[in-house]
Structures are given as structure tokens and as C-alpha cells.
């Protein structure tokens, strides 16, 4: 109990007194997960909308693959990305600029996109599917192009799309397996909050680990609170 209390106090101190190392770790976490979410949103929202609104042969197969992707264990994603981009991997030897190097922020982003994108696609697909077909028919009848129908449907499904983004962000902000494997938890470079918590716990430095945990929880809460506010403004 004493350790927990001390950890909470330590965490608050670190956060409010502006500990440089802590802020650097928070910065890397925000950068990695923020960019990964952005890429997942750019890929996932249109794709989810298309899958939710169109019918074509093989759609169910793709749907099943997306749903499987929504439950991918981060450590398996980490392993897959590791095997792809390591020097002995499938893509690593190609030495192309677009292939991220192992133990870099770019590799961590790639892994997190693989974790978050299926969630964004799946939740978006479900959200647009909830929009009444009558409304879509009405929008077309009012003279909307296909792109305008898609945009309007997404706008009507914005609560669900927001949930998709929150779900995606939550999953990558809190995951540790993939970033540990492909990032390597290098201090000052690829160390993020979850890997730092793991490290400090292993070192027996529970106070700092709890402190980091509180910061992580606080960030997640603030993001969700902002999202809830945005949802409320829509109506």
C-alpha cells in the first residue's frame, strides 16, 4: 500500500514538475501512437465505409479477416513486423527507403498501424452499417454523388467513427508487445510509456512504474473525455 501511495505521489511529482525524461517518453509515445492512428484513420475510415456500404463477392471473407485483425495479439504483430524488416527478414535485405529499420520509431509506427487499422476499419464498417438505408436512398435522391453519399453517411455515423478512432488509439497507446519487439526500448529514442513501465517494474523501481502508469491512464482519460465532449457537440 505504501508503495502504491508513494508511486502515485511520485507520478504526480514527475508530471507536474516537468521531469525531462518523463516528458521525452511521453513525447515518443504520443508521436508513435499519434502518427499510427492518423495513418490508420486515413486507411481505415474510407475502407470501413466502403465495406459497410457496398456489397460484392468476397466481402464476407474480407469482413472475417478484418474481425480477426481486430483481435491480433500485439506481440504477434511485433513478431511479424520483426521478421519482415530485420536484416534477415523478407523486406529488410531490400534496403528500400520506405521499409522502416528495426529499432526505430518508424518500425514502431508500422507495427501499431497493423494493430489499429483493423479496429478502425471494423468499427467504421459497423457504424456506417447502422445508418438507415432509407437515409442513404434519400441522400441519393437529393442528388448526391457516390462520394457525397459516402461523406454524408460518415457524417451521420460520426459517433461510431469517433469510437473507432478512440478504440484504435486506446489499443496502441496501451500495447507493449509490438513496440518492445520492433522498437527495442532504447532510452531517448524508442522508449515509450508502456515499455518504460515494464523496464522499471523489472528493475524493482515500482514508484516510477506506478507514476508512469498514472500518466498513461491520465492521458487515456483526457483523450476519452475530449472525445466524449466532441460527441456531445454533434447533437
Amino acid at each position: 500500500m505504501e508503495t502504491i501511495l508513494s508511486g502515485i505521489i511520485q507520478g504526480l511529482k514527475l508530471f507536474f514538475y516537468g521531469d525531462a525524461t518523463l516528458w521525452q517518453i511521453i513525447g515518443v509515445s504520443a508521436q508513435v501512437s499519434g502518427i499510427a492512428l492518423l495513418i490508420s484513420a486515413v486507411i481505415g475510415i474510407p475502407l470501413g465505409a466502403l465495406l459497410g456500404l457496398t456489397r460484392f463477392p468476397g466481402r464476407r471473407m474480407i469482413q472475417a479477416m478484418i474481425y480477426t485483425g481486430m483481435g491480433l495479439p500485439p506481440v504477434v504483430v511485433g513478431l511479424a513486423v520483426y521478421l519482415l524488416i530485420s536484416n534477415n527478414g523478407l523486406l529488410g535485405p531490400l534496403q528500400q527507403a520506405w521499409i522502416p529499420k528495426l529499432f526505430t520509431v518508424e518500425a514502431m509506427i508500422a507495427a501499431q498501424v497493423i494493430i489499429a487499422a483493423p479496429l478502425v476499419i471494423g468499427y467504421t464498417m459497423s457504424a456506417v452499417g447502422e445508418v438507415s438505408p432509407n437515409l442513404r436512398l434519400q441522400v441519393r435522391s437529393l442528388g448526391a454523388t457516390r462520394v457525397q453519399v459516402l461523406g454524408t453517411t460518415l457524417r451521420e455515423a460520426r459517433r461510431g467513427v469517433l469510437v473507432a478512432l478512440i478504440g484504435g488509439f486506446g489499443s496502441i497507446l496501451s500495447e507493449v508487445g509490438a513496440v518492445m519487439m520492433v522498437g527495442g526500448n532504447i532510452e531517448g529514442s524508442t522508449r515509450v510509456m508502456t515499455t518504460a513501465i515494464l523496464l522499471e517494474t523489472r528493475r524493482g523501481n515500482f514508484e516510477l512504474a506506478i507514476g508512469l502508469g498514472i500518466v498513461l491512464l491520465g492521458m487515456a482519460f483526457l483523450i476519452n473525455l475530449s472525445a466524449a465532449q466532441l460527441q456531445g457537440k454533434g447533437y
Binding site: S141, L142, A144, T152, E156, Y235
Partner: protein, 241 residues
């Protein structure tokens, strides 16, 4: 005069069940044509085909004298026709934004005067900023009608526009439909199973049964001297098929 629509040998089936089989139907420009018939007769399917929302399985549709290729309908042609459905599917947001929706789709951002005028015409001025989900059924249907009319369509398709509404809303909607037809010569196709409404509003009436046009005639002839026994039966309120 070139017909607004000309339909020949038109058929449409869903899952092997034929819902439309029309040998010939002409819709004249500037008229109000009421299509009456029992539920399941194919009335709504006909409207969706007229609004280019669905393609027929076979047959020809001519719009303003031009054959319609349902795989490639120019946007400007699609935008000449709009439908008000029985269920007034309103967008989230307020009444004003619903009215502006179609204008925005067309890139017309400055439509405030039109919106004000349309709100007044349908008795909705005080509801301009009301969220759409707070409206009553009658108010919502008036918003749906206003949202369609503000686009000044050449053809207005109405799918049971006053079903389940109270007499006040029915009277107001019918009055606006009549007015828009007279002032803008808008071609109107009204689908209804209310034979009294069809009689009040239409210039011509068509009876649709099991996807087939049984009889089409001017309103007076249709009600006073129908040719087909099924028309006589339907007008008398008998079960016909």
C-alpha cells in the same frame, strides 16, 4: 409535347418475384399523376425507377424524350428529379441545415433567402434551429418536402407523403403540392393508397395492381366512369387483385 417520362415493357423482379410489369405508361410534363394501388403493388419500386435509384430488369425508360441508360445517368439529369419518401429520413442537425443540404450538394452555399421562403411556405419558420430529431411526424414530413422543393426539381416524386399524418398536416402538404405544381409547372408523381387524396390532387390517376397498370385516365373519368372492373372495385374499397 414530349412526355416527361415514357415507360415501355418495363419489368422488375426481386429474388425471382416480379414486382413490376408495365406495358406502357406516359407521364406528361407539368401534370400531377397519382399512382394508386394496394400495398405491395409495386408503387414504391416504380418511384425508385423514375428517380433513377434502381434500374429495371428490362424495358425502356425515356426521360424528356431521351432513353435512360441506368448505368450512366448524367448528374444534371439525376438532379432534375427528387423524391419525398413516406418516412421523412432527416439528417442529424437542425431544420435549417436539412433544407440547405441539397443546395450544398450542388455547391450553392448562398441559399438563405430560399431557405427562409421555404420555411415560411411550410409553416416551419419557428423551427429553423430545432434539432431534426425533436420534430413531430408532421413537422418532419414538412421539412422533408421543403428540403426537396427548395431544389426546384423538374419532377417531384411523392411516396405516400401524408401517410399517418393528422388532417392539419395533410391539408398543408396538399396545398403546397398543388401550389408548386401550379406556379412552377413541376411534374408530380404521387404514390398513395388514399383514393380520396388522389382525387383531390391529381390531374390523372393510374391504378397499379400486382405490378401492372390496370387503367390510367383523367381524374374525373377514372372515378366516375372507369373502364376496368378492378378499378371500380378499388374505388369502392373492395379487395381487388
Amino acid at each position: 409535347m414530349t412526355p416527361a417520362y415514357q415507360l415501355t415493357n418495363l419489368s422488375k423482379s426481386y429474388a425471382g418475384r416480379q414486382v413490376l410489369n408495365i406495358d406502357h405508361l406516359e407521364i406528361h410534363p407539368g401534370e400531377i399523376l397519382a399512382v394508386i394501388g394496394p400495398s405491395g403493388a409495386g408503387k414504391s419500386t416504380l418511384l425508385r425507377i423514375l428517380n433513377f435509384l434502381e434500374s429495371p430488369d428490362s424495358g425502356k425508360v425515356y426521360f424528356q424524350g431521351q432513353p435512360v441508360n441506368y448505368h450512366k445517368i448524367p448528374l444534371e439529369v439525376r438532379r432534375m428529379v427528387t423524391t419525398v419518401f413516406q418516412n421523412p429520413a432527416l439528417l442529424s442537425g437542425n431544420v435549417g441545415s436539412n433544407l440547405q443540404f441539397g443546395l450544398r450538394l450542388r455547391g450553392l452555399k448562398d441559399g438563405h433567402r430560399d431557405v427562409d421562403e421555404m420555411l415560411e411556405r411550410l409553416g416551419l419558420t419557428s423551427l429553423r434551429r430545432s434539432p431534426a430529431h425533436t420534430l413531430s411526424g408532421g413537422e418532419a414530413q414538412r421539412v422533408a418536402l421543403a428540403r426537396a422543393l427548395i431544389l426546384k426539381p423538374t419532377v417531384l416524386l411523392l411516396d405516400e407523403p401524408t401517410a399517418n399524418l393528422d388532417p392539419y398536416n395533410v391539408e398543408m402538404i396538399e396545398s403546397v403540392i398543388r401550389g408548386i405544381n401550379q406556379t412552377h409547372q413541376t411534374t408530380i408523381v404521387l404514390v398513395t393508397h388514399n383514393i380520396f387524396q388522389a382525387r383531390r390532387l391529381a390531374d390523372r390517376v393510374a391504378l397499379l395492381l400486382n405490378g401492372e397498370i390496370v387503367e390510367t385516365a383523367d381524374t374525373q373519368t377514372f372515378y366516375k366512369n372507369p373502364c376496368d372492373s378492378r378499378t371500380r372495385g378499388f374505388i369502392r374499397g373492395e379487395m381487388v387483385w
